[in-house]
């Protein structure tokens, strides 16, 4: 934020926001977030701490054999980092987006300014990434304190969670802007988020699954994220090729952006 301030003050006519109007939308979201961030910060440390203790230490005590060659907690942590990123990303791209169309209607206010649909989308995505990155950083710190990170590559989880977040948030923007009631959002959690969290390799290797379910896991963006994050924190090679994973996730972002852009346009430019 200090960066924006300085730029704006020195070049009043063409500030950073002037060149990248999406930043103004991000800024609006940050101003709104100022009211609730304390509660957010608390839960973003508490959640990983509780899951780490509950699943890793509690359940891990019963999993005596190493999983994929490492202690269960170390296996679990990168999966939780990725799946928490997924949940934060989807949380921030469902109710807030629906609300900005249906309840406070702020998108319509934004659309009547010089902002283009892409700027509104970009700013909203920027805020999702901000939320995911801050909560992942908290998770990473807790994980480091538990001694579950085995490689400096663990830092790569930050750009990775950003990619996972974008891969799921952008198509969910399209969904949230196409439904008129929040009961549809609950469906998304029931039929996409929970199954993905359970079966995409977070809690156990997908190889334990029957073939059909395994292919569903491969199709989900989360599995690719989990595999990359796990490789990063353990300092090993992932199960799939790195470029393959990255391209697959990038494809979700690209197709999702196209869907979200047309869905937003349908609502805002009629």
């Amino acid at each position: 934020m200090a960066l924006l301030e300085a730029t704006a003050a020195t070049r009043p006519q063409a500030g950073l926001v002037g060149r990248f109007p999406a930043l103004a939308v991000l800024e609006y979201n940050l101003v709104a977030y100022r009211r609730t961030w304390r509660a957010g910060v608390f839960s973003s440390f508490l959640l990983p701490l509780l899951t780490m203790v509950g699943f890793g230490v509690g359940v891990g005590a019963y999993v005596e054999a190493p999983v994929a060659g490492v202690p269960y907690l170390d296996f679990l942590v990168p999966g939780l980092i990725a799946s928490t990123a997924l949940q934060v990303a989807i949380g921030e791209s469902t109710w807030p987006v629906l609300g900005n169309f249906e309840w406070i209607k702020i998108y319509f206010a934004q659309a009547s300014t010089p902002l283009r649909v892409a700027d509104i989308l970009g700013g909203q995505l920027g805020f999702v990434l901000f939320r995911v990155l801050t909560s992942s950083l908290a998770f990473l710190l807790v994980a480091a304190a538990f001694g579950t990170l085995h490689s400096p590559w663990a830092l790569a989880t930050l750009p990775l969670v950003a990619l996972i977040a974008a891969a799921v948030a952008v198509p969910v923007f399209a969904y949230s802007s196409s439904v008129r009631s929040d009961s549809y959002l609950a469906l998304l959690f029931r039929f996409a988020v929970i199954p993905m969290t359970l079966f995409a390799g977070v809690f156990f290797p997908v190889e334990s699954l029957p073939m059909v379910l395994r292919w569903l896991a491969y199709a989900s963006p989360l599995w690719h994220g989990v595999d990359l994050c796990r490789a990063a924190t353990l300092g090993v090679a992932p199960a799939w090729s790195v470029p393959g994973h990255l391209l697959y996730l990038a494809a979700w972002v690209a197709v999702g952006w196209w869907l979200a852009h047309s869905a937003f346009r349908r609502r805002l430019v009629v």
Partner: protein
């Protein structure tokens, strides 16, 4: 700041402008010229096509057909550049209720690339202007409807626009709040801001508009200043007669030749005349004794009802 690109001072020019949604034609080929500095009104019943027209002018709704030029630019191509110089006050408030009054202005100013310091200064000035300065730090949510509308008007001014679009600016407000909004809008007009507004309140149109068009069914059915419209489509005065008894119809025949136009309503008879008192004298001369008599000046409402009919539009 770029000077408005205008031909003969015309800021908004529409020719054969059409907006269709599927099979439904909301705006059916209208021609409009709005000149710099004037207050221009779109008057009409619900569904007349006013809001659709406003959305096209606001560059959030591409025209289906016809020509539209705003400050010499084409909304299909130059949407962001045009919107940068418009102020929009929508029919339904879309303020952020969780933000403070001031934050609603400063965050909105940033969408125009206005530096933060300037945004804060302008927010303070505008809150003074709409008499909300003492509420600057409070949340929007508990504000009254009138306060929210004034805040929306302030928000529309934050980029110092060349044209302000107001879609039914006082709908749903109580009389005090309406008069305060009118007074503020009148000030803006005096400062040379071009106002374009839609309304179905005749008094609002008479108060604020230099020129207006009456729309009905997506078409323009009349155009002019409030005064010329009244002269053209109504008479100077209107006499309202109420007769005791079952129906007014029975008395209508006895009023032949008394007025330029006679309208029989279920509860009263309207005589459109030049000289109201003369007409009343004539009524009494014919030995008719209405239960009540009211002589009033003709208003835009008479024009409006004459042109768009009395059928209820939902």
């Amino acid at each position: 700041m770029v000077e408005p690109v205008t031909r003969d001072g015309i800021l908004i020019q529409a020719r054969g402008l059409v907006k269709r949604f599927g099979d439904f034609t909301a705006v059916d080929g209208i021609d409009v010229d709005v000149r710099a500095g004037e207050a221009f009104g779109f008057l009409g019943p619900n569904g007349a096509g006013k809001s659709s027209t406003m959305r096209m002018v606001g560059c959030v709704s591409p025209p289906t057909d016809g020509e539209l030029q705003i400050m010499g630019m084409d909304p299909r191509r130059d949407g962001p550049a045009i919107r940068a110089r418009l102020g929009v006050c929508p029919q339904l408030d879309n303020l952020d209720p969780e933000l403070t009054v001031r934050e609603n202005l400063t965050t909105y100013a940033r969408y125009f690339g206005i530096p933060r310091r300037v945004a804060r200064e302008r927010a303070a000035e505008l809150l003074d202007f709409v008499q909300l300065a003492e509420r600057a730090g409070s949340k929007v949510e508990p504000l009254s409807g009138g306060m929210k509308r004034r805040l929306t008007i302030a928000r529309a001014m934050v980029n110092e626009p060349d044209i302000v679009l107001l879609d039914e600016p006082t709908t749903g407000l109580d009389p005090q709040a309406r008069h305060l909004v009118w007074e503020r809008l009148f000030r803006l007009k005096q400062q040379g801001v071009t106002l374009v507004l839609t309304t179905h309140y005749m008094d609002e149109a008479e108060q604020l508009c230099d020129r207006l068009v009456v729309m009905d069914g997506g078409r323009i059915v009349a155009e002019g200043s409030p005064r010329t419209l009244i002269e053209r489509y109504s008479t100077r005065e209107v006499v309202e007669l109420r007769f005791a008894g079952e129906t007014q119809e029975a008395f209508a025949g006895k009023l032949d030749g008394l007025a330029e136009r006679i309208e029989v309503l279920p509860d009263r008879i309207l005589l459109y005349v030049t000289d109201g008192d003369g007409a009343v004298a004539e009524v009494h001369a014919r030995a008719l004794t209405p239960a009540s008599v009211l002589v009033r000046r003709s208003s835009l409402e008479d024009v409006f009802l004459h042109l768009t009919g009395r059928t209820l539009v939902d």
